[in-house]
Amino acid sequence: MERRDIRADSPTEKERGFMPAVSINPGRLLFTAGMTGRQSDGSMVEGGMGPQTQRTFERLRAIVERAGGSFEQSIKQMLYVTDLEAYYAQGRAARTGFFQQSRPASTGLVVRRLADPAMLIEVELVVDLQEPPQGGFKLEKFDVEAHGLDFFQGVMVNGGRLIYLAGQVANNPDGSVAGVGDLSAQAQKVYDNIGYVLQAAGATAASAVKETTWTLDLEAWREHGTPVRRAFYQGDFPASTLVEIPGLARPEFLVEIEVIAAVA
């Protein structure tokens, strides 16, 4: 719905394919999960950054098209890479072809590790489907591949209002840190806090549209965090991204989770 590109003539972002900001009147929005160069059999595509970037955007395109949209309608792009030199050498060129002349708002980060150590790039998109809402408020969660993992590849928000949660950490109401040195306890506390905040907003776990999990140790998160996460969402997962980073705001924090939700 009537997109406005902000500072579209900015000399800095222009040559890099980004827009400083994009403004829309939200009607129907698509949030994708973080996508990577994974193939249908679960293995990574061969050949490093170039082929992984190509594959990543092909998979994103399938999600966007399934939602009835196109790449040109992307309003935000989030790029996570583990090897910046390889991205500049091979990844960026592979990316450019998909967007043609359009430019989304964008953030690029170098993280320590993605879900699989062989993954060099992960990308997520927010897409304005440029349609008015169809009927009442509704979330439509879907997959374009049978991946069997704990997330949906795309979530469409039809009407309603968006809720942006701060990154949630294992803090008690008095400001102290819960579960110091204990990832299971921190995971429980983080999801308790997410639940409380969603409840205060008139939402539930099922209202979650997009989730980003920032962890200091991805393997430990898989072991200790995943059971807590499954119990929280009960199968009604959001589109998700999981990355490993070197630090959070306090040294005691082992994980931080951000959620975007939507309500009527």
Binding site: R4, I6, R7, P11, T12, E13, F18, M19, P20, A21, V22, S23, I24, N25, P26, I75, K76, T82, L84, P104, A105, S106, T107, G108, L109, V110, V111, R112, V126, R161, L162, I163, Y164, L165, A166, G167, Q168, V169, N171, P173, G175, D192, N193, I194, Y196, V197, Q199, A200, A201, W214, I245, P246, G247, L248, A249, R250, P251, E256, E258, V263
Partner: protein, 129 residues
């Protein structure tokens, strides 16, 4: 204001930010990660976190103003730093730009940003109008 702060008694923020915000009306604005670029595209404050933070928050404010709003319209912001030791300085500078407190907020330490000279990057979403 096109948004409402969400307050929970059971889950409280660890600093002066909101736990969540809800967009109630207006246009939704997604803002790229802002770095310490001046208008000509030169990185300012090489090695100087305070100078970079000032530039970044100025850029963020400018983008919002050109979208017809201001920093107070932010729903959420995410601050990425490359060195956790820079965090107190970032908070200090940020305070100058947000005297009345922050929107929903996240801080993450990343391995690096997309240029070796950049020490922080801040992105956000806003509801304007």
């Amino acid at each position: 204001m096109a948004h409402t702060a969400i307050v929970s008694e059971q889950a409280k923020p660890v600093a002066n930010y909101q736990m969540a915000t809800r967009q109630d009306s207006g246009r939704l604005v997604y803002i790229s990660g802002q770095v310490a670029w001046d208008a000509a595209g030169n990185t300012v404050g090489r090695g100087d976190i305070r100078a970079q933070a000032r530039q970044v928050f100025q850029n963020l404010r400018q983008v919002l103003q050109e979208a017809g709003g201001d920093l107070s319209d932010l729903l959420k912001m995410t601050t990425y730093v490359t060195r956790i030791d820079d965090y107190p300085t970032v908070v200090e500078v940020r305070q100058e730009f947000f005297p009345d407190g922050l929107p929903a907020s996240t801080l993450i330490v990343v391995a690096s940003l997309f240029h070796a000279d950049w020490l922080l990057e801040v992105e956000g979403m806003a509801a304007i109008g």
